[in-house]
């Protein structure tokens, strides 16, 4: 099974949900099964990554990270230092070596 490696960064307090560690390197499958199938035929996207992070890396209070199938409102996502809103949000297809940053805006100013 082919895999891709990603660099994941958490900031703005989100790191507290991930063992208080800001930077993580992970390896995930390059292709995943589309909904209703067992055959890994679809390139992995950020939506898949969100649930992978929740199930494999997150240590506490999952509701502060994901909500209704996407990031909780108020969490900013950057793909290689670009706002994910310019990259198709959850549908962005991940590539080997991508750097994904999650920043919470919800902590006091």
């Amino acid at each position: 099974m082919s895999t891709i490696s990603l660099k994941i960064e958490f900031g703005g307090g989100l790191e507290l949900l991930f063992s208080n560690q800001r930077s993580h390197r992970i390896t995930i499958p390059a292709n995943v099964p589309p909904e209703g199938s067992d055959v890994p035929s679809k390139p992995v996207d950020i939506t898949y990554l969100l649930f992978w992070l929740r199930d494999n890396l997150l240590k506490e209070r999952a509701e502060l990270f994901v909500e209704n199938g996407t990031v909780r409102p108020g969490v900013l996502v950057l793909v290689n230092d670009t706002d994910w809103e310019l990259e198709g949000e959850g549908e962005y297809q991940l590539k080997d070596g991508d750097e994904i940053v999650f920043i919470s805006t919800l902590h006091g100013g």
Binding site: G13, L16, G74, D83, L86, G108
Partner: protein, 357 residues
């Protein structure tokens, strides 16, 4: 998806979608429009004049860290002629404020601004840790809020500045508009969108980030690699504000202009004269000299309750009556030092009295 070019310079690659306008812009254009919009907010409201001494209320969090950076940048770029200071309040919350104050101390070096830290302990004789140990986690935000407001003014007086700028952003103000509507607090609803609050002889408070989206403030801090601290207060956060905030963030996700739209609605409300008339006249606290709408200011009442072991006295009317029934104020009661306005405001106040006499 092919890379998109910046809607402003049509040259560099876009890195951000602006929530206010939906425009896709590059990093350099983003810095420039963000700073310029704050500059426009400042000049349109005529917040400053050359020679003003201005304190930046600094918590070490994202908003005040970005505010300090932007104020320094604009003061140099547009020659405002301001003398800038950092003013921090140490509430005495171990594991929260002590860490965030380390960030403010680094900001002092990075931005080369004088820093004053004033603690609840030195001003009131109580840290928030000690207050929570006595009263528990319920209602402690009331104490913290009242004490912080007064501590900022006292810190400003010590620095001899007559103007404090705070990092309140557009999201904060929209949240406050919603909360005031939901609580039916119409008097506050009328005031909460003002960029600047001041009386003739009080220390000015203003909010240069009034129209700045939280998303852009956080993106600005990220792309400028600013050093800020982000941890939630360890004592129970304001639950009501939390609901308003979650609601607002949901609205924003559906329609990003919601935040600015709510602020505009707040600004457009006209408050009925009957409502205005119910606001109490300002006087000075007979115990500490601070501005107050009663004989005793809120902070003095709260402190008296703490000292006499009846800390809910200022929170409920019933408890206040119980406190009064318990006997007169003890002679040796700890009080807050006498409040004095910064020297230039004292002169203003004196002139005002002469003029009216």
């Amino acid at each position: 998806m092919p890379p998109r070019t910046c809607a402003l310079c049509n040259d560099a690659r876009a890195i951000l979608k602006r929530p206010k306008t939906g425009q896709q812009i590059c990093k350099e254009c983003f810095f420039y429009v963000f700073e310029t919009e704050v500059h426009n907010t400042i000049t349109e409201a005529r917040l400053f004049k050359p020679g003003d001494r201005v304190a930046i209320g600094a918590s070490g969090g994202k908003d005040s860290t970005v505010l300090a950076h932007v104020m320094k940048t604009l003061n140099e770029r547009y020659k405002y002629g301001l003398e800038l200071f950092l003013l921090s309040i140490d509430e005495g919350i171990t594991g929260y404020r002590d860490d965030s104050l380390e960030t403010v101390k680094r900001n002092q070096q990075q931005y080369d601004m004088p820093l004053k830290i004033l603690s609840y302990d030195e001003l009131y004789g109580w840290t928030m840790d000690a207050i929570v140990a006595q009263i528990g986690k319920k209602n402690n935000c009331t104490f913290c809020g009242v004490f912080r407001r007064q501590a900022l003014d006292r810190g400003a007086a010590i620095l001899n500045v007559d103007h404090i700028v705070t990092g309140h952003n557009a999201d904060d103000i929209a949240e406050t508009v919603l909360m005031n509507i939901m609580r039916g607090d119409i008097a506050r609803l009328g005031r909460c969108t003002s960029i600047c609050t001041q009386g003739e002889d009080t220390i000015k408070r203003s909010k240069p980030f009034k129209y700045a989206y939280e998303k852009e403030i956080v993106m600005y801090a990220y792309f400028k690699k600013l050093d800020y601290f982000s941890t939630e207060c360890i004592y129970s956060p304001d639950a009501y504000r939390g609901h308003a905030r979650a609601f607002l963030k949901d609205l924003e996700a559906a329609r990003p202009s919601a935040i600015i739209d709510i602020i505009h609605s707040g600004e457009a409300f006209e408050i009925n004269d009957d409502v205005k008339a119910t606001q109490k006249l300002q006087q000075t606290c007979r115990r500490c000299g601070y501005m107050s709408s009663n004989e005793l200011c809120k902070a003095c009442t709260l402190l008296e309750g703490l000292e006499r072991g009846m800390p809910t006295a200022a929170v409920t009317d019933r408890a206040r009556r119980k406190l009064d029934a318990d006997g007169p104020v003890p002679e040796n009661l700890r009080t807050i030092p006498l409040f004095q306005l910064p020297s230039n405001l004292r002169q203003n106040a004196a002139t005002a009295v002469e003029a009216t006499s």
